[in-house]
């Protein structure tokens, strides 16, 4: 038996520009250099947290009138700036 690696699904690469054209659709998603997925101009990640923290997060975000994601980004950018 021979063990072979999986062939990359890259058949359209035979046509110059075709792959970029197909994956460039606004309704599509392109993998990033890290293998992630872009949603618009943002890279999508999966993140988990303790449920009670999520409850506190949602409560605080609601009080500020912003979305959960916006609050996470806001808090994270402050944390990163302060060198945490």
């Amino acid at each position: 038996m021979t063990i072979k690696g999986r062939v990359k699904a890259d058949q359209s690469a035979e046509v110059p520009g075709a792959r970029d054209f197909v994956s460039g659709a606004t309704d599509g998603s392109k993998p990033t250099a890290r293998g992630g997925v872009m949603r618009g101009k943002r890279e999508q990640i999966t993140h988990t947290m303790p449920p009670e923290m999520l409850v506190r997060l949602d409560r605080r975000a609601k009080a500020l009138g912003i979305t959960r994601a916006a609050y996470i980004n806001l808090a994270l950018s402050k944390a990163l700036e302060s060198g945490v």
């Binding site: 699904a9 890259d10 058949q11 359209s12 046509v15 110059p16 520009g17 075709a18 792959r19 054209f21 197909v22 994956s23 460039g24 659709a25 606004t26 309704d27 599509g28």
Partner: protein, 221 residues
């Protein structure tokens, strides 16, 4: 012949027309492969409604542009291929623009449908460049008025605007009118020629559309 029913806007009647084209062509004795390239999977769901009805129709569902482009290599097994692309700028729509012979663009004589043609026109231009590099023939682009008005000048004005918006778009003389039989037949996965009670006018419209789409005649206005 490989055709795609496509528009970047939803609600133009793509799935209903794709169903009618594919099934009617099958009834004419052709071996047709129907490809649902919309994530919503409505065409496939409609075909499933056919149950054991004869003749059976081969169908596939691709929600990935690269997969669709790759699988189109299977098209040689069939006389005709009918692709229903979802109403968005999707990878599947773009793959279809590279892979098919004919792009059928249904649009209603309504402003929003016509405005969206500008987006489709840009994609077509990009696809044509790739086709040229591949050595493929240019897309045959056919515009058909769907759910057309029974009176007034909107139909003619809409088609005029469409031909100006998408270079190379050929205006089909046949117009599909708004008829209940299309909706009722589609709910059972049927083309109007199969549907009882028979709607003669709808059948004539679809037969005429199939005639012009699956031939190389340029029956244009």
């Amino acid at each position: 012949m490989k055709i795609m029913v496509g528009h970047t806007k939803g609600g133009a009647g793509k799935t209903t027309l794709a169903l009618n084209l594919g099934v009617t062509q099958t009834l004419r004795g052709r071996d047709v492969w129907m490809v649902d390239a919309d994530v919503q999977g409505t065409l496939l769901a409609a075909l499933a409604q056919r149950g054991d009805r004869v003749p059976p129709i081969a169908a596939a569902h691709y929600t990935d542009g690269d997969a669709l482009l790759s699988q189109m290599k299977q098209s040689y097994r069939y006389d005709d291929v009918v692709i229903d692309a979802g109403g968005r700028d999707s990878p599947q729509l773009r793959a279809g623009l590279i892979a098919v012979d004919v792009l059928l663009v249904p649009f209603q004589p309504r402003n929003f449908d016509l405005w969206a043609l500008e987006d489709l026109g840009r994609l077509v231009a990009e696809a044509e460049e790739i086709r040229r590099r591949r050595g493929d023939a240019p897309l045959r682009i056919l515009g058909v008025l769907n759910q057309a008005d029974t009176a007034g000048q909107d139909n003619d004005q809409a088609m005029e605007l469409a031909t100006q918006t998408i270079p190379g778009l050929q205006a089909l003389q046949v117009q599909i009118r708004r008829r209940k039989s299309y909706n009722n037949a589609a709910a059972d996965g049927l083309a109007v020629p199969e549907f009882k009670p028979r709607d003669t006018k709808a059948v004539e419209e679809i037969e005429a559309l199939v005639d012009v789409v699956f031939t190389n005649e340029w029956a244009v206005k």
